[in-house]
């Protein structure tokens, strides 16, 4: 079991409020990703759940029990750190088994569990090596091994893949997701990478300035962003925002259209007219950055190859069903 509930959790360092009251319900077995720009408080929130920082207010319930005064080790959680935080003087076996040794399990049982965890993570040949003799990806797996061997109520991941190169990151992303599904253990995963968030999460928590902006499944966030911040943060390339006349016509202060929901026409009369400033041809996609005069720069995405180049005039027609409307304070208008 690993159900985690936050009720009005606050954290301040002196006069600085890092977390301004967070309420959250994380269901047992789900994979929840905290995402947001740097300094939004996502890592702090994770550390509060872990117990590495004390809350300034509110409650953290794990399986219904308030743990704010419980030390980290007694919360039944395990954590994977961004820097891996392996014990440099211990072998892989020692690293993975350290938590079990601290609980006081007999040596035979520790060995059995460590070997099982190592087998799951393809670490068996490296059990007697020291961390410095491993590659980045292997170290990362040792850190994950250390987390799973204790059979915790939940895993906490603090940007675990950000030190890996791009190719390895994609591979580990899949491995972590698969492992979590296989074990069925609740996971909270912190990242600033919205692609990681979209691909790994059952549910995403978007944080900004210490506040939860929206909590929902990846597609909910993509299709129905609650406000301008979420709309701009989720999705790549970023959503286009247009203010002024076109927005007023829709009864909104700002309207947003994703690049993939703009139809590109070479010489149409309707839609938003502009000149291509930069055209990116990726083969699978074509991205156009269009200078649309008073509307500013707009991004359009075409699936497949489109032979348009910088300097060409185009008109962009938004898909009427896919226009997001926002009021003056940036909140989404529904209906």
């Amino acid at each position: 079991m690993g159900q985690i509930t936050l009720q009005g959790v606050q954290k301040s360092f002196g006069p600085v409020h890092i977390i301004k009251g967070a309420d959250l319900d994380i269901a047992d077995g789900s994979f929840v990703v905290f995402v947001g720009p740097s300094g939004c408080g996502k890592t702090t929130l994770l550390r509060l759940i872990a117990g590495l920082e004390d809350v300034s207010g509110g409650k953290i319930l794990i399986d219904g029990k308030n743990v704010v005064d419980t030390p980290p080790a007694k919360r039944g959680l395990s954590m994977v750190f961004q820097s891996y935080a392996l014990y440099p003087h211990m072998s892989v076996r020692g690293n993975i088994g350290f938590g079990l040794k601290m609980v006081g399990l007999p040596r035979g049982e520790i060995n059995r569990k460590v070997e099982a965890a190592a087998a799951t993570l393809n670490l068996t040949p490296y059990l007697d090596r020291k961390p410095r003799e491993l590659s980045g990806g292997q170290r990362q797996r040792v850190a994950i091994g250390r987390a799973i061997v204790r059979e915790p109520k939940a895993f906490l991941f603090d940007e675990p893949l950000s030190n890996l190169d791009a190719a390895l990151r994609v591979q580990m992303r899949i491995e972590v997701t698969r492992l979590q599904k296989q074990l069925g253990t609740t996971a909270i995963y912190v990242t600033h990478d919205q692609v990681e968030a979209m691909t790994m999460a059952d549910k995403i928590v978007v944080l900004n300035g210490g506040k939860i902006e929206q909590y929902g499944s990846p597609l909910e966030l993509y299709e129905r962003p609650a406000n301008l911040f979420v709309a701009g943060f989720i999705g790549s390339p970023k959503m286009n925002f247009v203010t002024g006349e076109p927005a007023f016509q829709k009864g909104a202060a700002t309207i947003g259209v994703r690049p993939e929901h703009l139809k590109i026409e070479r010489d149409g009369a309707d839609g938003w007219q502009g000149t291509i400033a930069v055209a990116e041809h990726l083969g699978s996609d074509t991205f156009l950055y269009v200078d649309a005069g008073r509307l500013g720069m707009l991004t359009a995405r075409y699936i497949g190859e489109l032979s348009l180049h910088a300097g060409d005039r185009v008109s962009l027609v938004p898909d009427p069903a896919r226009i997001h409307r926002f009021d003056e304070s940036g909140n989404a208008l529904r209906g």
Partner: protein, 276 residues
Amino acid sequence: MARMATTRRVAISTATAWLFGFLIFFPILWMGLASFKTELEAFAVPPSFLFFHWTTENYATVQERSDYLHHAINSIIIAGGSTLIALLIAIPAAWSMAFSPTKRTKDILLWMLSTKMMPPVGVLVPIYLIYKSFGLLDSRIGLVFILCLGNLPIVIWMLFTYFKEIPRDILEAARMDGATIGRELVYVLTPMAIPGLASTLLLNLILAWNEAFWTLNLSTSSAAPLTTFIASYSSPEGLFWAKLSAASTLAIAPILVLGWFSQKQLVRGLTFGAVK
């Protein structure tokens, strides 16, 4: 062509390094050689480098005239004792400054270091008077105490910079793994800090062994370490170069051997934090 240039450059820099190494080492070599000369040859002009009458009579005279062992034991007690006490105080101090710093930590560190900038002679008279009234003159405890205090800022600084390099994450990982503070210390912190502790200990030992200002001024005979032993050959009956050299060679021999065997640790300790 490029390779040849590099080989030549390596050869030149190696030769230069050896030259400078030799220049720095030369006084010690000269002292060692002089200790095997007769008094007459020791200050002969022009000096003979290797072709002189080798003799060990200086060592015999030195041992006869003063008790080398007595002074050596004093040196060991004073250097060792002051180092151990300094470490006992410095470890928790550096620990708390590295792992739970406050707003004033930086100021305290700087203030401690600033005390090393004052020439010790500036406080000689008050210290001497205090020692006199407490009966600490010419006592080992007194010397242990003053050397410990004198080196404490450096010891704390060294340990502080060393501890700072230990990533917090690892300590937090240990806490998540269920280690209590005691077990965290035994299983995680100490093994990681041992190289730093070792090099700090060695450097402080050498500093305390070679310290001459306080030991010369605050001791005369019963607590006198090897520095006083050397100094006794330089004054009353004029300079005896050969005997002075023999005494000095004897005095630096133990620390030279220690330094030789631990040079790797020492270099690491001295340059730690400077290069990553």
